[in-house]
């Protein structure tokens, strides 16, 4: 993974000093809240219902044990002993003091971490496939490019006051595990017929109030043009994105109102002027950055095959965990492990300081010291020898991190919701907990198969409900919570926005509704190999509407 050089260390130290000065001026009253707010947002500091919230950047979801231990230390020392992993591969602390934040950021800087641009109207954390560098189906590792974009976008003087936030995601396989089509810019790293590296460029995807699937505006962008082309997109957006209405200020609205073809043309015109400037990426620089992401030296561990078979036979729980939570690695002696942060009945995405420390220890001992955060709020150990799966599993069990539910119905994605968030209309966490408990039986989950439930507590869609196979959107109606259900969404390479199926459900009716939907699916699927999503795409919403609303579909709430 990337390691800071002198330049990076100096930059982060200067940024901490700058923010320390700003915090001091704010606390003394010299800086007003209006002037301070965009500055604190650009350092990841939100004000929530109960306290401030600090969002720490985990670049493209990659971190090592030293960094994870620091997160545990911060949780313990400055917060209430836990943190929350987010749908953008970041980490949130819910109770830090503003007066402590410069010290927190200084401590993070000592392990090459920061909270720069995790909020504000600027370019946010560049996310990537959480299986990057390990997945068997990967064409090329997207992370070097995510790292180049991360650097280039840090305190960019032209793009620090955009009309609105800007999110970029990169994927390097045909299977899209980074949801690039619901990002402002989505980059699909690929090779052309000549074997040259480049990107398919998508622009204008997003969720929130007006969910939209991104438009392909460039079939193949050569690698060396990454920064100049991105600059062109950003400049067009900065100049022409709407600033009159906060809810119409994302680039997706600009693409929609201008038309994708016309917008692509405007970008090409600007790009033509930028292409041969100092923004052209030298091969040497790409090679140097890529070197940080070179595949680790993986020892041959062929003994794992036999051990694994033996362990699975001896322990059905272990076998189930391997089946569900271990994915094929490029190297046949290895696997990619998903550490579930979705214990049955638990809070999705939360981890205590002890759990973070445990993951750090396991990663260091068994996983070449590499950890990932997925946008589905789980942790990943991308390189684990099959021969080490059993001790890893035991260590995870000891810390409540071995729930065998990756991609299953209890692997729920939920935003913090009204329990924490000042923007929310309804709670998400208790809803997730109840659904998880209802469907907690491993046999039942296995029977149902892959089913992604995503819950958002408001229209901002931080829970990504629009791309849930089952999506839940919490709204407020007459002072009470109500949940709208959408079906058939997906964030993969065949991205689709879920369809609202009818009027909403009260909190105490939601889990029953989910059960009805699941039973309907089980009743009409061709066979066990037809997933919920595939079945929905085959039969459409009607059978589900009939089951839920008894054949007379009322207007959506």
């Amino acid at each position: 993974m990337y390691r800071y050089d002198e330049f990076d260390h100096a930059f982060v130290a200067e940024r901490v000093a700058q923010f320390r000065d700003q915090v001091e001026r704010r606390l003394s009253g010299e800086l007003s809240e209006d002037a301070f707010k965009p500055l604190r947002l650009m350092n990841g500091v939100y004000l929530q219902l109960h306290a401030y919230m600090l969002r720490i950047a985990i670049p493209y979801g990659t971190l090592n044990s030293k960094q994870m231990r620091m997160l545990a230390h911060v949780a313990r020392t400055y917060d209430r002993g836990y943190g929350h992993f987010t749908t953008r591969q970041n980490l949130q602390f819910n109770w830090p003091k503003l007066s402590d934040m410069p010290n927190v950021l200084a401590e993070l800087a000592s392990v090459e971490m920061h909270a720069i641009q995790t909020s504000g109207n600027c370019i946010r954390n560049v996310t990537a496939d959480h299986f990057a560098g390990a997945a068997a189906d990967e064409v090329a590792d997207p992370r070097p490019y995510a790292e180049i974009l991360r650097q280039w976008s840090s305190v960019h003087p032209e793009f620090s006051f955009l009309p609105r936030k800007f999110k970029i995601a990169v994927t390097g396989a045909e299977r899209d595990r980074a949801a690039i089509q619901v990002h402002d810019i989505g980059l699909h790293l690929k090779k052309n017929d000549k074997g040259e590296i480049g990107f398919a460029v998508y622009v204008g995807g997003g969720q929130g109030r007006t969910p939209m699937v991104a438009k392909l505006i460039r079939e193949f962008l050569p690698e060396e043009d990454l920064l100049s082309y991105t600059t062109a997109v950003m400049r067009v957006y900065n100049l022409h994105g709407r600033r009159d209405n906060k809810y119409k200020a994302r680039i997706k609205i600009l693409v929609h109102e201008t038309g994708a073809e016309e917008l692509a043309r405007q970008v090409e015109v600007e790009f033509a002027q930028l292409r041969d400037t100092e923004l052209k990426l030298p091969e040497a620089d790409v090679a140097a950055i890529s070197a940080y992401f070179a595949p680790p030296a993986l020892a041959e561990r062929a003994e794992g095959w036999e051990s694994l078979a033996r362990w699975k036979k001896a322990d059905p729980d272990f076998a189930r965990w391997v089946q569900q939570n271990v994915q094929p690695h490029k190297n046949p002696d290895y696997g990619m492990v998903t550490i579930s942060l979705k214990p049955i009945g638990g809070i999705p995405g939360d981890a205590t300081d002890s759990q973070m420390d445990a993951v750090a220890d396991i990663a260091e001992e068994y996983a070449l010291d590499e950890i990932r955060v997925s946008h589905e709020q789980n942790l990943i150990l991308p390189h684990v020898a099959l021969a080490d799966l059993e001790p890893v599993y035991r260590a995870l069990v000891a810390h409540g991190l071995a729930t065998a539910n990756a991609g299953l119905i209890t692997d729920i994605i939920a935003c913090p919701g009204l329990d924490y968030c000042a923007l929310a209309n309804a709670r998400s966490i208790p809803v997730a907990q109840e659904i998880s408990s209802r469907f907690g039986s491993p046999e039942r989950q296995e029977e149902i198969g892959e089913l992604k439930i995503k819950i958002s507590g408001c229209i901002n869609a931080c829970g990504h409900h629009h791309v849930g196979h089952i999506g839940l959107l919490g709204v407020e109606k007459k002072g009470a919570e109500l949940y709208q259900i959408t079906l058939g969404g997906s964030g993969d390479e065949h991205t689709s926005i879920g369809e609202i199926i009818g009027r909403g459900f009260e909190p105490n009716k939601v889990t029953d509704a989910i059960e009805t939907i699941v039973d309907t699916y089980l009743g009409l699927r061709l066979d066990k190999s037809e997933t919920f999503l595939a079945a929905y795409r085959r039969v459409g919403p009607q059978p589900f509407k009939d089951a839920l609303y008894g054949g007379s579909t009322a207007e959506a709430a």
Binding site: F11, P157, F161, L227, R243
Partner: protein, 170 residues
Amino acid sequence: MTKIWKETGFVKNDPWVIETEETKATESQKPLLPLDALIARAEESNDVGLGVLIKPADDVRKLEPYLDRLEIVAVAFPAFNDGRAFSHASLLRQRLGYANELRAVGDVLIDQVPLMLRVGIDSFAVTNETALKRLAENRLPGIPHHYQPTVRTADDPGSYSWRRVSRTIS
């Protein structure tokens, strides 16, 4: 009380004024013309030493034929978080090669001055008290390590092509 600041210090007797319904340029002052008015004046006269005020929604590239007639271009920040003028400044310097005075007007606050300097803005109409104080003390809250090349001269740190280092704190 609005003062004009440059890196060389506060400027006395600055002649440029933004005209309103109530305020017009006096004998010793010169107006910063709105874009359309500037284009008309340049087309209809041989005047040089002109000044123009670029608003956020203006297309700054329309100035291209008249750059040599301009002594000053002012770019407006009606609210400090309206970042369009950063692009106007970048285009003026990098694309159009404009080399004369480039001034930030409007909601100019100390925390954005380092970013404005980096995109090539070299003078500032400042009203905010904290900003005036910090500028008088030459205490700019900038970061001298940069991850982007911009038109403002900065050193190559001998590292990746996109990085620069400022000698001054901006």
